[in-house]
């Protein structure tokens, strides 16, 4: 299932980029294009190339998700990812509150890029789907065998997401919930490759959407008392 979803999502993003570049080409070839507009088209084309490189990076992160056995602290990774997203200006007028008390036991195994991809994709979607001026909440907590990252986004309630369900089932189901969003596909695929699961459902109290990323705790590393081994 994940192969189909990832391929579909990548095709969608590439198609969009191709459309964007084709539009830019048409605009740049227009006899009315002046120096100023050509500069703007060039700048947009550079953004397109950046998106294309990012897509390649994401796909590579997925490809390498099962190579190597690094141990990472999910709470620290979550803080890093949210800080980076803020610095990139992707939040717009929304805010993200991270509630991840330092927990040396919030250890999971997996390559940093794949873990970051999963977290980043869920937070990005939560932010984009939220109403203006909304506050998205990110928390990390330990459960018995898992470390769980929760992203709660105050979006309008979805009539199709009425109970917590596997992200893959929602994205690939007949309803194509979330429109087959590439970021969510990458998050779900990444969780799957890392031995965990990603789910989506209504936020408690019915105030929007809640995504959960559950990854198995790295017991071995925990016993050795590993500290901050973040990769940035």
């Amino acid at each position: 299932m994940w192969t189909r979803l990832v391929a579909g999502a990548a095709a969608h993003d590439i198609n969009n980029l191709a459309q964007g570049l084709s539009n830019l080409l048409a605009l740049a070839s227009s006899p009315t294009a002046n120096r100023e507009s050509l500069d703007r088209y060039a700048s947009l084309a550079r953004d397109g190339l950046k998106d294309l490189r990012q897509l390649a990076t994401n796909l590579r992160s997925l490809a390498n998700a099962q190579s190597g056995a690094e141990t990472q602290r999910l709470d620290l990774l979550a803080v890093d990812v949210v800080t980076e997203l803020g610095a990139l200006g992707t939040m717009g007028d929304r805010a993200v509150d991270v509630s991840a008390p330092a927990d040396a036991g919030a250890l999971v195994e997996g390559p940093g890029p794949a873990l970051r991809l999963a977290i980043q994709s869920l937070v990005r979607y939560g932010v984009a789907a939220s109403a203006p001026l909304a506050r998205v909440a990110v928390s990390v907590a330990r459960e018995e065998r898992n470390v769980v990252l929760v992203v709660s986004a105050p979006t309008a309630p979805s009539p199709r997401t009425t109970a917590e369900a596997e992200l893959g089932a929602l994205l690939g189901g007949a309803e194509r919930e979330f429109g087959g969003d590439a970021g969510l596909v990458f998050a779900g695929a990444s969780a799957h490759l890392l031995g965990g699961r990603a789910t989506a459902g209504p936020a408690p109290g019915g105030g929007g959407l809640q995504f959960k990323l559950s990854l198995p705790r790295a017991e071995e590393a925990q016993r050795e008392g590993a500290g901050d081994v973040r990769t940035t």
Binding site: G8, A11, H12, N15, N16, L17, A18, Q19, G20, L21, S22, N23, L24, A26, L27, S37, L44, D47, G48, D51, G92, Y125, A128, A129, S130, A131, P132, A153, T155, A156, A174, R176, F178, G179, G180, D181
Partner: protein, 483 residues
């Protein structure tokens, strides 16, 4: 309202992809007043205030689907038209969008910006042609799109199968997407194509029908795409093709399954790029034509045999209407027969003709392999033979046997019908059921002396259903109005 219409048409573009949003906006800004939104929530808020003509909506948006936006737009701006755009189209999605009231459903990539501009222009024309269009909050505009007095071809019938066809025509009429109509010969494919044209925004533009099987292979490309002077021996002058003649309207390609392979390649290119290159020309030019194709050919077999290109089939069939054979909707025969008799009798200057009971019974008992066309021919034949006001069974062509009621065995028993393996199973089954129903009803009316209430009580069929069934079989009952 007139003041609103004199302003530049206002178009909203909603896409979370910034490059697409910027470039669509810039392309459209040459002809329209464009508002662009990368955020679905912001767009929804703006729809409530802006007086829009058209919204171009990405199907896939974070948090809200384009369909959510579409339904919001229909609610707050009933006079505006929506064009959905996606890179990940499925037939279900297209049907859902059109069902929800989208004017058009476009699939990325769109290589030619001119083409998009034309689609948006058509949508604007459509929005502005609606009575009361453009008035924000004008709640009557959504119902104004359907005029009870419009001159659309009528698709006659009472069966659920034909109801479905009518519903699809209604949903698909406003689309510009290619449409495939399938059905046996004589099922009314061209009528459906004309209904699609008459019910859509292109109704005031040309409808051009061409039978691909009727044009010689050597001429079909020149006919469809035109040719330049000297393009081939005998091309003494430049010739405009049917695609150009249909620009802005509809080109109906009947018997598309008969199209030669090399023409299929050229047609595929036109559908993909929206551009036509006449035979012998070096330059292509843009055309805006909705292609409606029809066939009675089994496409799966034709593709398997290499006679029809698979990629062309998928280009032609984002929207598809399958027409049922007449034998699969027997309940439609009386109403169609009466309608055809009316039409033929008006033409012959003999209005007011009717069918006798035996004639109608014969018409409903025959399987009509040539469908409505054959039925029409049979009625015309009978009309020519008759001299009175009533068409009788004897005046029908000899291949339409007289009613089974008049045969030596009053009613064929189910067992007799079932063992008739000379006809296909579906037909044998339909014959059996029909004969059983007729036999049951005749016996029922005999034992109840034609009393409808008593018959309804005895059979357990409610009165209105029983009345309908009796009328279908032309069985008399007390209180029945005289035809």
């Amino acid at each position: 309202m007139s003041g609103q219409r004199s302003r530049l048409p206002r178009v909203a573009v909603v896409d979370d992809d910034v490059i697409l949003l910027e470039t669509w906006r810039e392309m459209l800004a040459r002809s329209f007043d464009v508002r662009s939104y990368a955020d679905a929530h912001e767009a929804m808020r703006a729809f409530e205030g802006d007086d829009l003509d058209v919204a171009l909506l990405d199907v896939q948006l974070p948090g809200k689907s384009g369909l959510d936006l579409l339904s919001h737009l229909r609610r707050v701006q009933p006079g505006a038209e929506a064009i959905m755009i996606t890179g990940n189209a499925t037939v279900e999605m297209a049907v859902a969008a059109l069902h929800a009231g989208a004017f058009d459903f476009l699939q990325k990539p769109i290589e030619n910006p001119e083409w998009l501009l034309r689609r948006v222009t058509h949508a604007v024309e459509r929005a502005r042609s609606r009575p009361g269009a453009g008035a924000a909050g004008g709640a009557k505009a959504s119902s104004a799109s359907q005029s009870p007095n419009d001159a659309r071809p009528r698709i006659v019938g009472v069966s659920s199968a034909i109801e479905r066809v009518r519903a699809l025509i209604e949903h698909f009429a406003n689309s510009s997407s290619a449409t495939l109509i399938t059905g046996e010969s004589g099922t009314g494919k061209e009528l459906v194509a004309r209904a699609l044209h008459a019910g859509g925004a292109r109704r005031d533009r040309p409808f051009i029908a061409v039978n691909c099987g009727a044009i010689a292979d050597t001429l079909i490309e020149s006919e469809l795409f035109g040719h330049e002077r000297g393009a081939f021996t005998g091309a003494h002058a430049r010739h405009t093709g049917l695609f150009d003649a249909a620009d802005g309207g509809v080109l109906f390609l009947d018997e598309i399954g008969d199209m030669p392979p090399q023409t299929q390649v050229r047609l595929l290119r036109v559908l993909q790029e929206g551009e036509v290159r006449p035979v012998g020309a070096t330059q292509s030019h843009t055309v805006d034509v909705r292609v409606i194709a029809a066939t009675n050919v089994d496409f799966k077999r034709a593709m398997r045999d290499g006679k029809f290109r698979e990629d062309l089939y998928y280009r032609l069939s984002p929207l598809r209407i399958d027409l049922p054979a007449l034998r699969d909707r027997l309940e439609d025969i009386p109403v169609i027969a009466r309608r055809l008799l009316e039409r033929h009798s008006v033409r012959a200057g003999r209005e007011g003709l009717t069918f006798s009971e035996s004639a109608m019974a014969a018409l409903t008992a025959y399987p009509w392999p040539g469908n409505v066309r054959e039925l029409s021919n049979a009625i015309e034949f009978a009309l020519t033979l008759s001299s009175g006001a009533v068409i009788d069974a004897e005046q029908l062509p000899s291949y339409v046997p007289a009613s089974r009621r008049e045969a030596s065995a009053p009613v064929a028993t189910p067992a007799q019908a079932l063992i008739n393996t000379e006809v296909p199973y579906s037909q044998a089954r339909a014959d059996t059921l029909r004969d059983f129903e007729r036999g049951y009803l005749e016996e029922l009316m005999r034992v109840t002396d034609g009393n409808l209430s008593a018959a309804a009580r005895r059979s357990g069929i409610d009165r209105s259903n029983l009345r309908r069934m009796l009328r279908q079989h032309n069985i008399a009952y007390s209180g029945a109005a005289q035809a």
